[in-house]
């Protein structure tokens, strides 16, 4: 496991909103299934004293921390207030903050992440589906039915594409240690490098699938940083330059970050790159044959 396990107590900000309420239900259904603690408290300013699926709601993170043992937070609050929520959790001493919220202005994200870094905590996202360690912990919105416990780590900038790949792996009988959606924005907290470092220290993880897309060069930086066997897939080979492909971070700018050159650089480092998601399981099998 990385980032947390069954014993992790989770706090949800934006608990009384439509998204927050819905996903507290799903996260706690998963926690019950695996015997974990799950979401123990919610926060929505002005809604303190309420309950959501039996989870007590507080006005502030500090108040929730006074009553509960909490080490991780999931944020569902709207974009205009999400950076503030990250800083509130960091100040209260929460170690792992998962920001699901999409459309946060980049300058707000830069500030919130710099602030969280100063407080010594890590941010996953924003604009991400969160993470899931099968059999242990779900923080975020990933559909748990697709997952299988095992020893392949998955890191991705996407949501549904991650589910597609996890589905392919599970159908092929390849289980996952932890699946992390790091987010589709240009500025994100945990990057491929950070998650790979955690996987490197995780005895359960034997290989990693790295799902990237056009924009920036975080995939290459990640691949360079690790000794773990990795397989990659890069989405957006057909993306035209200077067009945002759904994710704020998925854009080829100034001739940089296009899929072809990304794939070429990864291959040069010796990383096998799948040309479509359905090829990933076979490449993972080959890796296990060659490395384990």
């Amino acid at each position: 496991m990385i980032y947390g396990d069954k014993k992790t107590g989770v706090l949800v900000q934006g608990a009384t909103g439509k998204q927050g309420e819905f996903h507290i239900g799903l996260m706690n259904a998963y926690a019950q299934q695996v015997g974990g603690r799950g979401v123990v408290a919610g926060v929505t300013p002005g809604k303190g004293g309420k309950e959501v699926h039996g989870v007590p709601v507080y006005n502030t993170v500090k108040e929730a921390m006074r009553d509960h043992d909490i080490s991780a937070g999931v944020i569902f609050v709207p974009a205009a207030a999400a950076a503030d929520s990250i800083m509130e959790e960091a100040t209260a001493g929460i170690q792992t903050i998962v920001a699901i919220t999409e459309h946060i202005p980049v300058h707000d994200t830069m500030k919130a992440i710099a602030y969280a870094e100063m407080e010594g905590c890590c941010v996953i996202g924003p604009n991400c589906p969160g993470l899931l360690s099968p059999g242990e912990l779900k923080m975020g919105i990933m559909p748990s039915g697709l997952f299988l416990p095992g020893n392949v780590g998955v890191i991705s900038r996407s949501g549904t594409l991650t589910y597609e790949v996890v589905d392919e792996l599970t159908r092929a009988g390849i289980g996952q240690s932890t699946v992390v959606g790091i987010g589709g924005d240009p500025v994100i907290g945990q990057t491929f490098v950070d998650v790979l470092e955690r996987f490197g220290n995780d005895p359960q993880t034997k290989a990693v699938v790295l799902i990237g897309e056009v924009g920036g060069n975080l995939e290459e930086e990640g691949a360079k940083s690790t000794d773990l066997p990795i397989v990659s897939y890069i989405a957006g080979i057909s993306a035209p330059p200077d067009k945002r492909m759904g994710h704020a971070g998925a854009i080829v700018e100034g001739g940089e970050g296009d899929a072809r050159s990304k794939i070429a650089r990864l291959k040069k480092m010796g990383v096998p790159v799948a040309s479509r998601p359905s090829e990933i399981p076979q490449i993972v099998r080959n890796l296990f044959r060659d490395h384990c």
Partner: protein, 361 residues
């Protein structure tokens, strides 16, 4: 969203960075009252939303006597297919040296990155490749409103000290305007001081509202329509319409079309929790593109309700063939509804894409 040159220059001028005297005109006649102020020789710059306008004939030199004629000529031109509706008439500067200054968002450090080089005026990408040592970089702390003086000294090196305040002021613009890029190229020295001869500002699309913009001008009409429904939409040039949920999966579907030898007409990400009405709008929007022969719908997710999606596809009732891959809640109901109406449903994304490529061929 990229601001036009005159808008960017107004912003940096307000921040206290000197720009050449200039006037925005919407017809050649509007130039007449400004001829005195512009002097013997000036520049006419077409304000069009395309890159490389200089090479495409969008920038012309003019003088007091031929200015009106040249402005008329420029208004009559098309720059990369776009009509010229506005021209910035600008005083010519007596340039001594050209510098380059930019501030961007650096993905690796997650912080603002400031670049400065004394080899300005030319293409920065070429300088970066051929003389990377000529580009000086510092990474700023986004929690600070100012850049500390030592960073400015590091950037300037032996360049004139009077450029320092320009860096501080541009950094403030970068923060206050939610910029993804704030660039002055070239930043020039003249006998009268330092000037921003050209300026570029790109505002974060996620901050347009608080920056006072009601529309994103970078989008086409259909892309704007899509935005109203909350879709991410990009127009391409092929024949296969693509609807998916999630940016990564939709991009991956496009790529797969290429892999099987087809070409995509668009990219439409419906986003999370697709209800029937959203799906209907998505299918109709893609169906309204004349070049679309067939549409692939690739929706996957734990919370996507397949019966809702099926309802939306049927309600859209478009003439083109729609091939569907659906996985999620109420899958059986959704499948039953679609197959009853004769829609083709396939189990994997490889299969739907292969089929669509065959149909489009």
């Amino acid at each position: 969203m990229k601001l036009r040159e005159y808008e960017a220059k107004n912003v940096i001028k307000e921040a206290g960075i000197p720009v050449p005297a200039g006037f925005l005109i919407r017809s050649a006649d509007e130039l007449i009252p400004h001829l005195g102020a512009l002097g013997d020789s000036f520049v006419l710059k077409a304000q069009v939303d395309v890159g490389g306008r200089g090479k495409a004939g969008g920038i012309l030199m003019a003088g007091r006597t031929d200015g009106i004629t040249i402005a008329q000529e420029l208004f009559g031109r098309q720059i990369k297919g776009l009509p010229v509706k506005e021209i910035l008439a600008e005083q010519r500067l007596d340039i001594q040296h050209e510098y380059y200054l930019s501030i961007t968002v650096d993905r690796s450090s997650r912080r603002p990155l400031i670049l400065f080089t004394e080899a300005g005026g030319v293409d920065i990408e070429i300088t970066a490749k051929e003389h990377p040592e000529a580009i000086r970089k510092v990474i700023a702390n986004p929690l600070m409103r100012e850049i500390p003086p030592f960073m400015i000294r590091e950037l300037l090196g032996t360049a004139p000290k009077e450029i320092g305040p320009v860096i501080s002021k541009l950094y403030r613009v970068f923060l206050e305007k939610d910029a993804l890029l704030a660039e002055i190229n070239p930043l020039v020295t003249t006998p009268k001081g330092v000037y921003a001869a050209d300026a570029k500002l790109i505002v974060d699309d996620n901050a347009l509202g608080r920056q006072g913009f009601s529309v994103n001008r970078d989008l086409t009409e259909r892309e704007c329509e899509a935005e109203k429904h909350g879709f991410s939409y990009v127009e391409l040039t092929g024949t296969i319409g693509v609807i998916g949920n999630g940016a990564g999966l939709t991009m991956s579907t496009l790529d797969l079309i290429g892999f099987y030898g087809g070409s995509a007409a668009n990219f439409l990400d419906v986003g999370g929790g697709a209800e029937s009405e959203r799906v209907m709008h998505a299918v109709r929007l893609v169906g309204s593109v004349p070049s679309v022969k067939v549409i692939v719908v690739n929706l996957l997710g734990g919370i996507t309700k397949c019966d809702e999606v099926a309802k939306g596809i049927i309600a859209a009732a478009i003439p083109q063939k729609v091939i569907v891959r659906l996985a999620g809640t109420n899958e059986a109901e959704g499948r039953a509804m679609l197959s009853e109406k004769g829609y083709e449903m396939l189990d994997t994304m490889d299969l739907v894409v292969k089929k669509a490529v065959e149909v489009a061929a």
